[in-house]
Amino acid sequence: MTGDVLAIAWRTVSLASLATLVMLPPGIALAWILARRQFPGRAMLETLVSLPLVMPPVATGLMLIWMFGRRGPLGGPLSQLGIDVMFTWRAVVLAGAVMGLPLLVRAARAGFEQVDRRYEEIAGTLGASPRRVFLTISLPLAKRGVLAGALLGFSRALGEFGATIMVAGALPSTRTIAVAIYSYTETGQEAAATTMLAVSASIAFGALLLSNRFASSA
């Protein structure tokens, strides 16, 4: 059982880390756009980004099946390239990234909003292009908010269950801590479920502690 616990814990942490890497580029871009740009449809985008926070995770999972299933608008072309998403480790990453994205965007957006625009303006007068201003001024000054958001997103991906079980099932190759707790409990393996619970709580506690530390000093 110890081997199983370790393998599941390792898989969960590494796939949640990968999900965090996947959500970072779009998450940072969305956070910056929402913090700095006014445009028609901004409220719509803001609502759309937050949707996974309030929708039942299984509903989000169902939408991912529609999009990334073999006949889906994204899953179809990927399947033709030989990349299957559903019921593989990629589905676990996808579910974690989609469910963690809103938390990352919220914290990173707060980070960007706290950056005094004067720094960005003055960097521009010094000849820096908007891209360079973003990379050398906005992002470094918002880094604590971005890091706090990344850790929140990671924590969310770590504990993801509803969407994950829809898109990746409870296969031995895709089983994460949350799914394992459910499976062990269902099959009466209470000791294993309790061990997984302890591992899950420890990792999430550490990640949240770090996230709060970054957020409070942002």
Binding site: T125, L126, A128
Partner: protein
């Protein structure tokens, strides 16, 4: 050597309206006026940080804004060295990185010799590795000016550069500004309330009130507002 400077534009922001009709040849143009008269808005218009209604802004032979010709050079391509009143030194960079920020983004403007000259002129060598938060007021001022100068600017825009300094520091920083004017020959548009500063530096004075020019002429022309 005096440089032709055209500041002929209209800026409208909410209820505030700023009108300038200046075409002067000067090394240092001083902008005077009470708070809210539009001095900083003039500098930010030149720097490309404000959206103008119409008009022209030219420094030397370079057109920065010309509504008639549809020219509005973006802020990062204007090559102006703006030193705002709050200095806005980048807090996450040390002195050296602050100073080099503009130099690195201006590949055709700066040179190692130019940078060395600026550092020597402003006596900044001892501070290069310091954090900007550890600097005194006068040192911060010099870093902000050096940072603006390393872009090899067409014009240096200084917003009350000595106001926040005590009398002793002012006396120490003023000679640096004179050296920039004389040795680097970079034209300046300079916002100040201090007659001594203006007499020491400027050769043209524009006095503003409520967004309008109420006096414009050579610096030594007596003015009840300045004396």
């Amino acid at each position: 050597m005096p440089v032709p400077i055209t500041l002929d534009f209209l800026l409208c922001q909410g209820d505030f309206r700023l009108e300038m009709h200046e075409r002067v040849e000067a090394r240092v143009v001083a902008l005077f006026g009470p708070s809210g008269s539009g001095k900083t808005s003039v500098l930010e218009s030149i720097a490309g940080l404000r959206s103008l209604e119409r008009g022209e802004i030219r420094i030397g032979s370079r057109t920065l804004y010309d509504s008639g010709a549809g020219v509005d050079v973006p802020s990062h391509r204007r090559k102006v060295g703006y030193v705002p009143q709050d200095l806005t030194l980048f807090p996450h960079m040390n002195v050296k990185r602050n100073i080099l920020y503009g130099a690195r983004s201006d590949r055709d403007g700066g040179s190692a010799e130019g940078l060395e000259q600026i550092l020597s002129l402003l006596e900044l060598h001892p501070f290069l590795d310091r954090r900007v938060g550890d600097l005194s007021g006068g040192e911060r001022q010099r870093v902000a000016i050096a940072r603006a100068l390393t872009t090899a600017p067409l014009v240096l825009l200084l917003d009350e550069p000595l106001t926040a300094l005590d009398r002793g520091l002012r006396a120490r920083v003023l000679p640096y500004l004179k050296r920039i004017r004389d040795e680097l020959a970079t034209p300046m548009v300079y916002v100040s309330h201090d007659e001594a500063e203006v007499r020491a530096l400027a050769d043209w004075v524009v006095e503003l009130d409520g967004g309008r020019t109420i006096r414009s002429g050579p610096a030594l022309t007596p003015s009840p507002k300045i004396t």
